[in-house]
């Protein structure tokens, strides 16, 4: 009897139908109960678990406190798949300003806020159908990564 995988599939389907989070959000944002350092670690491992490579992390913090922010912990994580970036930047140079993908991470007290542009919102500006599918795929990955963060970090972070 191998009904188990099937049941699992149905369960996943049923769940994905009932738990659709708010669509049409242009900026996807989640709050992680982990502090900034732990969030950075688990974000990077979640990104890699989803098959992307972290290209670099840009610090955007020097001088933030001088402007009245209570935190100076602000980073932007750039990530992508080499083959994808190469192919898309050649076929659609107008995508380049959004490549590689980015997630902004900033501390709010002991918690961390993690945000990203919803690729599907960008997709509305592009006419090509192939891009629609690409944007949707990115959206799914980003939502999954952000949901890892919301749940307090991915498995890898749990090992710490």
């Amino acid at each position: 009897m191998n009904t188990k995988p099937l049941i699992k599939l149905w369960l996943m389907l049923a769940l994905s139908l009932t738990s659709l989070p708010g669509i049409a959000q242009n900026i996807l944002t989640v709050r992680s109960a982990q502090n900034f350092e732990r969030s950075m670690t688990s974000l990077q491992s979640s990104i890699e678990t989803h098959g992307y490579k972290v290209a670099h992390v840009q610090r955007c913090d020097s001088g933030l406190t001088g402007l009245g922010y209570e935190t100076d912990r602000y980073r932007v994580v750039f990530f992508g798949k080499h083959e994808e970036v190469r192919r898309l930047s050649a076929d659609f140079p107008e995508l380049i300003p959004f490549l590689p993908l980015k997630i902004a991470v900033f501390a709010e007290g002991e918690q961390t806020i993690i945000s990203s542009i919803n690729p599907t919102s960008l997709g509305e500006f592009y006419a090509d159908d192939r891009l629609r599918i690409q944007f949707k795929r990115w959206e799914n990955d980003l939502r999954s990564i952000l949901s890892d963060m919301q749940q307090g970090g991915s498995a890898a972070a749990g090992e710490e």
Partner: protein, 349 residues
């Protein structure tokens, strides 16, 4: 046999409480609202505190979810079903355990002009003379110092005006919002007709509302600005840099677009990103919109195509800024957009 077990599993699923019961308000709140309002209604935005809940109706909460606050960060949630909106509202309501007040929908009669004079005396110091709120940001905005624990909101906001009934607005002015600078104006000594006049005045903001899409329509719809360079790859890069310096901006080390995604020997060397920055400008924007980092606007990429032509590509900031639902960001984005175009113009001379 196989099919039958699946059918049974499906029936079991349909009967299990998770799958069939009313939508789970707590889970919906968690996925749609908590990123800003935290798990308990604190966090970004106006606090959803017990004392506030005691003065707002369920209809107000539901309508706020539907409309959001245009230009004030909170998005609208048109895609949630009524059952889902009801569930979220009931969940928020459960924090105080007390049923919300109900207000009649009837308009209050009042003298709008007199209300305007009262507004100037009692309200404009915080909500500004045109009702558009005070200072940068809205409510409680991220981790930065504020002149108020909770920033006075824009009471001209279409989302607010569409959601709040006259009677509710009157109640808010009478009782204030404990724990914030919004005090009780009953205690200040205002009287019933004063409140009615103030409400009439606040209602009159509705007529003056600008149409937010007017600006959007003018904006070039392409998310990328692309230009052909008359020069070769290296010269184009050099002239962008000198144009950046000419604007008193600083540039960061160049980066190939693919850098970090593969071994350095494999990187496409004909795509170079020039990142520049005027920290003051950037931070002005970050103050009103900390999520700005998701876009990192100040980048120009130079590419050399197979036929030897060279192009320059940058983000269309005016368009992208609109995704943030934050009016205060738009002005800054406009400034930066102009600067970006100037740099490009000069580099292409």
């Amino acid at each position: 046999m196989k099919i039958r077990s699946v059918a049974i599993a499906l029936i079991a699923l349909a009967c299990s409480p998770q799958a069939s019961a009313a939508p789970d308000g707590a889970a919906l709140y968690e996925s749609n609202c908590a990123a800003c309002h935290q798990v308990n209604g604190g966090g970004i935005g106006l606090p959803l505190s017990a004392s506030k809940l005691a003065t707002v109706s369920d209809n107000y909460i539901k309508s706020t979810i539907r409309h959001g606050r245009i230009g004030r960060i909170m998005p609208a949630f048109p895609e949630l079903s009524s059952a889902q909106v009801d569930a979220i509202t009931a969940y928020i309501r459960s924090w105080s355990g007390v049923a919300g007040p109900q207000y009649p929908d009837t308009p209050l009669p009042g003298d709008r002009r007199r209300g305007g004079s009262l507004f100037k005396i009692y309200c404009s110091s915080c909500h500004s003379s045109d009702g558009s709120g005070e200072g940068l940001g809205t409510g409680v905005t991220y981790s930065r110092g504020r002149s108020f624990a909770v920033m006075p909101p824009a009471i001209t906001n279409p989302g607010f005006l569409a959601s709040a009934s006259d009677h509710m607005i009157k109640r808010v002015i009478m009782l204030g919002r404990p724990g914030t600078a919004m005090k009780s104006f009953l205690d200040v000594g205002l009287r019933d007709n004063d409140f009615n006049d103030l409400v009439s005045y606040i209602r009159s903001f509705e007529a003056k509302q600008r149409i937010p899409s007017a600006a959007a329509e003018e904006t070039e719809k392409s998310p990328a600005l692309m230009f052909d360079s008359p020069n070769d790859f290296a010269t184009t890069i050099a002239s962008i840099k000198s144009a950046i310096e000419g604007k008193n901006f600083r540039y960061l080390p160049d980066r190939h677009l693919e850098k970090g995604l593969t071994e350095s020997g494999q990187v496409n060397r004909r795509q170079m990103t020039i990142r520049y920055c005027n920290f003051q400008q950037l931070y002005k924007m970050m103050r009103v919109e900390p999520r700005l980092g998701v876009g990192l606007p100040c980048r120009i990429t130079v590419i050399e195509n197979d036929d030897g032509t060279v192009q320059l590509i940058a983000m269309n900031m005016r368009l992208i800024a609109q995704l943030f639902n934050n009016d205060q960001l738009l002005e800054f984005a406009e400034e930066l957009h102009e600067i970006q175009l100037d740099i490009i113009d000069e580099a292409l001379l």
